[in-house]
């Protein structure tokens, strides 16, 4: 871990420990946008770690972004930090400036298509995107849209769409946005842009958030079983509890490694292989981990009063967003099979 990573990790831990209280998460889940928290996170330089300085970012790498997202997942931070990073990356890779404020991205469903067209001297956006994260709260929406068969990145103002609010299990906004000839604030394109660029980046940021969430489940479960007594002794002294938490530790470590590998590959260039591996491996760990953590906590962990569910509800949603394990496994499996048995080991060792 380099100096900037250490600094970011410390900043996140300090800021989130102070500010991301259960009361704040609850209020956000009831629909209140946590503006003070957003301001603090943005001023702390945590929203654009990997964006070049000339586009308004901190000039770091995707490895640094991973540190922030993992911490955001660990604390169940109720903000679109991940979406802002992805939106900002799309903008800057198309040579566009990154504005201040929360950003979200669309489309997030493989079947949704958006299009932009010339409307007099300006660009205009049309189409519908379902389950847009934080759609109602974002100040900017960055979209991947088609224009005459060509892919473009465009930014529109939040509020330029008709919004149908909905949420995921964690009560994070997942809104359906419909634009009809909405004015585009900026548009551009890039040679590196692919139809699945946004889908891949979305899967990658969710993997990092989940890896962080798993770290929380592990530390919270260790803490709980060490304090809680049954049959006259701490739960932590029961072998079966120890064995289950050791298993959780293994899956947590694997999830962290898989997420790290994806971000590192993204920094180097083509990360589709590592992102698929990460979304599969971390998603699987998320389901198992939530199960083990709830079992360790007993009935109290199933109550709203206990904070465990802030993370487990997110894990259950995030593992399904931007493609669940099965989706990515099938995609990866088809690629591996097409290359044949001879190529698998060569491919694994060349990454």
């Amino acid at each position: 871990m380099d100096d900037l990573s250490g600094l970011l990790a410390d900043t996140c831990t300090r800021l989130f420990t102070d500010r991301v209280t259960p009361a704040l998460i609850e209020a956000t889940e009831k629909g209140k946008w946590p503006d003070d928290l957003w301001q603090a996170v943005e001023e702390g330089g945590l929203t654009l770690p990997q964006i070049p300085e000339q586009h308004g970012g901190a000039g770091g790498t995707w490895d640094h972004a991973q540190v922030v997202l993992s911490a955001a997942g660990r604390f169940a931070v109720p903000l679109p930090i991940a979406e802002t990073m992805v939106g900002a990356w799309l903008l800057s890779s198309a040579g566009l400036d990154v504005p201040m404020g929360p950003i979200t991205v669309a489309p997030t469903q493989p079947s949704d298509r958006l299009s932009i067209s010339r409307n007099g001297g300006a660009w205009a956006l049309s189409g519908t995107a379902a389950r847009v994260p934080w759609g109602r709260s974002a100040k900017h929406v960055v979209v991947l849209a088609e224009s005459g068969g060509k892919l473009m990145v465009a930014r529109v103002a939040g509020g330029a769409a008709k919004a149908e609010p909905d949420t995921n299990l964690a009560l994070e906004p997942r809104d359906t946005l419909t634009w009809s000839n909405a004015p585009v604030a900026a548009a551009g394109t890039s040679d590196s842009l692919q139809p699945d660029s946004l889908w891949l980046a979305g899967a990658m940021v969710r993997a990092a958030q989940m890896a962080g969430g798993l770290e929380f489940l592990l530390s919270q479960s260790v803490k709980y079983v060490s304090e809680r007594k049954q049959f006259g002794k701490p739960l932590s002294t029961f072998q079966v509890i120890q064995q289950n938490l050791a298993l959780l530790a293994g899956h947590t470590a694997a999830a962290g490694m898989a997420a790290q590998a994806a971000f590192h590959a993204m920094e180097k260039g083509d990360a589709s292989f590592e992102i698929a591996c990460a979304k599969i491996r971390v998603g699987e760990a998320a389901g198992l981990g939530a199960g083990i953590a709830h079992q360790a906590h007993g009935a109290i962990g199933f109550t709203y009063e206990h904070t465990l569910h802030f993370v487990t509800r997110r894990l259950w949603s995030w593992r399904a967003e931007f493609g669940a394990e099965g989706h990515w496994a099938e995609r990866l499996g088809r690629e591996v099979a097409a290359r044949g048995a001879q190529a698998l080991w060569t491919m694994l060792t060349s990454r």
Partner: protein, 383 residues
């Protein structure tokens, strides 16, 4: 709570160059090894192959040159290990000596012992077995009872060791005996010895066949067997500390997740280039696990290279790695439902047959899953 320290590590260019050299060597040496012979790998015995590997400088790679070693990095060694395992090379002749016995002597042996044994190991001439378990103590090593009683010039040994892999093929067994009885302190009074299996009177080696009819395990019975003073490794009574160090060497390598890789490759041949949905999902999932485990295992090698003692991380890799390699034949069975074969049928069916029968051992050898999870739980502060 103490946390794990898995950091992504990339191999240096010299390691990648070495990889190409190892691949060419393996292609030339093992052209006709069948698919179902390849999963035997670190159970596969070939002194000739080990000598050839030694001639390339790939045994004792990280050891000092004055003991015949090559002073190369742990990461270069890692590449040789993973390539030989992925190819299914028969490496059991030198495996224990290279992984455990040599490093143990480097750390705790006398200068005479190092001079005598290490250069011969690096030439691929000496083979070692491990004599730890006993009939009434499997993972509970502290309960061992085989006595080494002090006599003039050495020790007189009485007792029985069990599960000693390759004792019938090895020159020496590094064995743990009780040299003192310390009441209520069963971890104390243990010592390690280099037992010459070929030239010691009073030793009887009896085969124990595994459920597939194979002979790797043995029972090694000692009856008034004399072991000289200079065969003791380390100080009298330091055995427990040494054994736990040695087990650390045993838990960190790629052999803890690659046992079933041949079946993954045979599965790819079986499902073809355009698999159905279920097959594609399984292939993708297995690939994701393999890639992640490899990154974790490499991370442990990098910690060793940096002079750290990643015992906790090695236990994590072994736990999830052996669980994974054990799952593979089950998942392949669930997908394809082919009958596992012994000596007939296709290479795929025979590979499945071999692995279905051997998978139970994966989470036993080198410390059971339960013992490893106990170590991890201790690392988490739960005990």
């Amino acid at each position: 709570m103490p946390t794990f320290n898995f950091e992504l590590h990339e191999l240096p260019p010299e390691a990648e160059m070495l990889r190409q050299e190892v691949r060419e060597f393996l292609r030339a040496e093992l052209p006709n090894l069948s698919a179902d012979e390849r999963p035997r790998t670190w159970g596969g015995h070939s002194p000739e192959f080990s000598k050839k590997l030694a001639a390339k400088g790939w045994i004792g790679m990280t050891w000092p040159k004055k003991y015949g070693g090559h002073e190369r990095s742990f990461l270069e060694r890692y590449v040789v290990l993973e390539e030989t395992l992925a190819a299914g090379a028969p490496v059991s002749f030198h495996w224990v000596a290279d992984r455990q016995s040599g490093p143990l002597l480097l750390r705790f042996g006398t200068e005479e012992q190092r001079q005598k044994f290490l250069p011969a190991i690096t030439r691929g001439e000496l083979s070692f077995a491990i004599g730890m378990s006993e009939p009434d103590s499997g993972s509970d090593l502290a309960s061992i009872r085989t006595r080494a009683e002090k006599v003039p010039g050495g020790y007189k040994v009485n007792g029985t060791k069990i599960w000693t892999s390759n004792a019938h093929l090895s020159d020496y067994a590094i064995s743990l005996f009780r040299t003192q009885v310390v009441p209520d302190k069963k971890h104390e009074g243990l010592s390690q010895f280099l037992v010459d299996l070929r030239n010691t009177k009073g030793i009887t080696i009896r085969p124990i066949y595994d459920l597939a009819g194979g002979h790797h395990f043995n029972e090694v019975h000692y009856e008034d067997a004399f072991v000289p003073e200079d065969a003791r490794v380390g100080k009298d009574g330091d055995g427990w500390k040494q054994v736990t160090t040695e087990l650390g060497f045993e838990r960190s390598g790629p052999e803890r997740y690659l046992s079933s890789i041949r079946l993954v490759l045979e599965l790819l041949n079986e499902v073809g280039k355009e698999p159905g949905e279920r097959a594609a999902v399984l292939v993708g999932r297995l690939t994701a696990h393999l890639n992640t485990l490899r990154q974790m295992s490499l991370s442990v090698a990098a910690m060793l290279q940096a002079g750290k003692s990643p015992n906790l991380e090695a236990s994590v890799v072994k736990d999830i790695g052996t669980t994974f390699e054990q799952e593979i034949p089950e998942l392949v069975h669930a997908l394809i439902g082919a009958e596992p074969h012994l000596h007939t049928g296709s290479e795929f069916e025979r590979t499945l047959g071999y692995l279905v029968q051997h998978a139970p051992s994966f989470s036993l050898r080198g410390g059971t899953r339960e013992i490893l999870r106990g170590i991890i739980a201790r690392g988490l502060g739960l005990r």
